[in-house]
Symmetry: C2
Amino acid sequence: MNDDELRARFSRPAFEAAVDAASASLADGGVPIGSALERGGRLLATGHNQRVQQGDPTAHGEIDCLRQAGRIGSYAGTILHTTLAPCAMCAGAIVQFGITDVVVGESRTFPGELNWLRGRGVTVLVLDDDRCAQLMTQFQERFPHVWAEDIGTLPDES
Amino acid sequence: MNDDELRARFSRPAFEAAVDAASASLADGGVPIGSALERGGRLLATGHNQRVQQGDPTAHGEIDCLRQAGRIGSYAGTILHTTLAPCAMCAGAIVQFGITDVVVGESRTFPGELNWLRGRGVTVLVLDDDRCAQLMTQFQERFPHVWAEDIGTLPDES
């Protein structure tokens, strides 16, 4: 769908489920990024970053959500909701799985790969949601080292 | 490192570990793509596609390998070896985690995102290894539906 269609049709409950997942992750001392996959009004799965909780560096919010959804076959008609602009890995997953519509909470605290996604034909709606930005700001201030680890910007200490 | 340096210095044992992981996955009825992460002559982790074995669509070979490696901090100095050209998700993970050197078994059976990787500053060495291509050809002929699922090209049946 195009930008206006996505703005009109995206799922507010699915987005709220993503925000709730991000909040739950922060409460556990984890990276507060949550995601939710929806199709036709049905919530297929939610997930959140599991780097701290599971010690899994690949479990960004979007990846964890797609993992929770399992083998759903075609992703046609799905909308992925995520609280933060997707990084290169998560943007790549979106493109590879053929997810064409993405709702992003905010891109103030991390720019992500929004331009690359759009260049690959994905419609991206950025809500600029204050709650999402506050979750990330709290986390980045409290745990700057974990945040640097999560986006691959740790200094080389080898 | 540049192309010549990577060709001279990549780890043959790590590449063989990736091929072994791919073969083991095929023996289990899974997608035969394996990976190995190495640094300074030390094998940090291996992994293989787990879509069939774990029902996890995000567990491509490279992602499984990075998951097995766990939270290693900076990826500086690591070389990721993988039997097949990385898809968009796995290429994105490589870029996001700051892995700058990748050894690819083959890109005949799937082109992957090699040009994109190179454009993002990653040195990519393609070995054009017959065994890797044969593993993929066997799998694609026996399980075309699972292969289409793995690279997001299933038809929409909703």
